[in-house]
């Protein structure tokens, strides 16, 4: 038996833990503590402020089946080639249902100061690192991840090193039974003045109501320049719970892009700690939803040092009965003077039944700062449509152009040329195929 089914994740999954213990006894305290935290907290409810717009009841009602061993799903090279970004010139780490697939992965061409591997390749020592950035978080899904993670990427870019190629992490959910849950854990350390692009794709091979629970911890060193692109395009039944915990060093430049297209419910918790001066942190996201989909981006950007900039840009295109949720909390600690924090969330509703919830939250304990936020929810801008029509474009062309532009505004912030171009094309094609304008 490769999965353990219970209705309640907290009800002592003895068998699962016995197996996980074989992967590294040193990690058992983390796992046990995680399970204990989850037992106490349970699944979040709408009455929890951080979850008030995102009802996870449909997930909580599924049987809980953490995938502990590989399910034996076959994946062929041509399936990877056919996926978005599948042919990108990149080093590739392929995971199926939370387990590394060596045959489909290729890691080469990186300088000697760069380590690209996966957790299960060597558990020793990880107990000192995993949880060190996510540990303070009370998100029940992080607790569950602590308990049940099976594998994930480990990326260490040494001081002054630059990735020769982007690293592309491909996570496939192949599970066929509702409630089967992969727990993925990634650990990223970017050394002083290091540089590189890391891409994370989450894709489904089947149509079951699978669960992806991914926790990524990243420590971005002084002067490092890292671009992190997360592309989530799973089946419309899938549940996706992601959590990123980053600590940024002095003068670091970090850009995180979230392109959330798939899933019945996706939630991205972004927790950024700006602990040294001179940091530039960009969080940039696009969600395009239809049917019953829900996408939620929930971020806390903590300015704990002076002279840091953080910018958040999130655009949502919401069709049918879908719901987009944005919660952006900017926390400026005492002493974090000259903070420049900017936040925008724009939602385009293509249907009367679509919903956008947006909640900016500025918490400022320093007096010499610049913090702005803005949110819009609405239909297309009539002035813009008239402007385009006055140049000879018909109404439907004008609407399509604006829709593409609304998405393109986010996609164009991706710095990596090949990734940006491919995602741009994908977004265009998706809009053409799926979001029919009247």
């Amino acid at each position: 038996m490769s999965t353990v089914a219970t209705t309640d994740p907290a009800s002592a999954p003895v068998e699962a833990f016995a197996k996980l213990e074989q992967n590294g006894a040193a990690l058992m305290p983390l796992r046990k503590a995680g399970l204990a935290r989850f037992s106490e907290a349970g699944y979040p409810m709408l009455r929890d402020e951080d979850w008030r717009f995102t009802n996870i009841k449909p997930l909580a009602e599924l049987p809980f089946r953490p995938i502990i061993d590989p399910l034996g799903q076959e994946l062929r090279q041509d399936q990877i080639d056919g996926t978005t970004l599948g042919q990108l010139d990149a080093d590739r780490l392929v995971f199926v249902d939370g387990h590394f697939n060596a045959g489909l992965s290729q890691i080469a061409d990186q300088p000697s100061g760069v380590t690209v591997t996966h957790l299960a390749n060597g558990w020793a020592g990880l107990e000192r690192e995993l949880g060190s950035l996510s540990g303070g978080d009370d998100n029940p899904f992080v607790a569950l991840n602590d308990a049940f993670f099976t594998d994930g990427a480990v990326i260490r870019i040494g001081d002054g090193q630059r990735l020769a190629k982007p690293i592309h992490l491909l996570f496939f959910s192949a599970a066929g039974a509702d409630g089967e849950a992969e727990h993925i854990r990634n650990w990223i350390v970017a050394g002083t003045n290091s540089q590189g692009t890391i891409i994370e794709s989450h894709l489904s091979l089947g149509q079951a109501a699978t669960v992806t629970n991914v926790v990524t911890e990243s420590r971005i060193g002084d002067g490092a320049e890292i671009e992190h692109i997360k592309f989530q395009d799973q089946s419309t039944k899938a549940f996706h719970l992601a959590s990123l915990h980053s600590e940024l060093g002095r003068d670091a430049r970090y850009a995180f892009h979230s392109i959330a297209l798939g899933g019945r419910l996706s939630r991205n918790n972004l927790r950024m700690r700006l602990t040294q001066p001179g940091i530039e942190c960009v969080l940039n996201g696009l969600y395009m939803l239809r049917g019953q989909q829900l996408a939620d981006h929930h971020m806390i950007v903590e300015h704990a040092a002076p002279h840091c900039d953080s910018h958040e840009y999130f655009n949502g295109i919401l069709d049918d009965q879908s719901r987009g949720v944005f919660h952006g909390r900017i926390l400026v600690q005492p002493g974090a003077q000259k903070t420049d924090a900017k936040q925008t969330n724009k939602n385009l509703l293509l249907s009367d039944d679509a919903t956008a919830n947006t909640k900016p939250q500025l918490e400022i304990y320093a007096d010499d700062v610049k913090c702005t936020h803005g949110a819009t929810i609405g239909e297309m801008d009539d002035d813009a449509i008239f402007y385009l029509r006055a140049r000879g474009l018909d109404t439907s062309t004008a609407q399509r152009m604006l829709l593409h532009g609304f998405a393109g505004e986010i996609v164009e912030r991706i710095q990596h040329d090949a990734v940006r171009e491919e995602l741009d094309e994908l977004v265009w094609n998706r809009l053409e195929a799926e979001h029919k304008l009247d």
Binding site: Y387, L388, A390, E409, E412
Partner: protein, 249 residues
């Protein structure tokens, strides 16, 4: 080319234009001046077909067509161009893509071959140079984050590329410094020929030093109260509008 007869229009039953009569022939430049609130921009909006303005009476014939019955894009394709007083920012829509789509929509309507990306770029770069616009301009989203002067120059660039028969410039001079004003005026003057016409809406005489009009009309309270040649503009510059308004009353 354009014949406006007793045009009355307004917003929400509130009349703003109260009987405009204007004849614009090919090869002519007309300036429409007037104090704030006289209806200048409403006239421009009604001629371009902006939503929200109701035509209450009168008509506008454009090359034998009932202009007011055409959709905004049909007017544009027939050669009417409005340079906006407040060009709209369209984040995410690339300037090259936008302008090429517009040029080709109009070329197709005229039965001309569409321009491919290369030929378009060749053509647009020449015009950009004339207008003092850097090449990065094409990579930027339409008007997004542009300075006031850049937006106005972008209007003139679009006008130059679309080569309209009737161009209506709605306070294109507002917010421009003297250098930008000269660049914009040069752009308009290069367009002038016997086959087309320009209607310049402006509050100040200044622009008319550079674009010399054949006719000057003074709009007040929704009516043209005085028409003359370019000397009328100079007289207005000197004496203001009040004497005319009193005279008309």
């Amino acid at each position: 080319m354009l014949e406006i007869r007793n045009l009355q229009a307004g917003i929400d039953d509130k009349p703003i234009l109260k009987g405009i009569n204007l004849l614009v022939n090919a090869g002519e430049v007309h300036a429409i001046m007037g104090p704030n609130g006289s209806g200048k921009s409403t006239l421009a909006s009604v001629l371009a077909g902006r939503d929200g303005f109701d035509v209450i009476g009168g008509e506008a014939q454009y090359n034998g067509n009932d202009l007011l019955n055409l959709a905004p894009e049909e007017r544009a394709r027939e050669g009417v161009f409005l340079a906006f007083q407040y060009p709209v920012e369209i984040p995410g829509v690339n300037s090259t893509y936008f302008l090429r789509s517009a040029v080709n929509a109009i070329r197709q309507h005229r039965g001309e071959e569409v321009l491919d990306a290369m030929n378009f770029l060749k053509a647009v770069k020449v015009k950009m140079k004339e207008l003092g616009l850097g090449e990065d301009f094409l990579k930027r989203p339409v008007n997004a984050g542009f300075s006031g002067g850049e937006k106005k120059r972008n209007e003139i660039l679009q006008m130059t590329m679309l080569n309209p028969r009737l161009a209506i410039l709605d306070e294109t001079d507002s917010g421009l410094d003297i250098d930008a004003l000269r660049i914009v005026a040069d752009g308009v003057n290069r367009l002038r020929c016997a086959d087309n016409a320009q209607v310049i809406i402006t509050h100040y005489q200044r622009l008319l030093d550079y674009i010399v009009p054949d006719f000057v009309h003074v709009l007040h309270n929704g009516r043209i109260i005085k028409s003359g040649d370019k000397s009328l503009a100079l007289e207005l510059e000197e004496k203001g509008y009040d004497w005319l308004i009193k005279e008309a009353a």
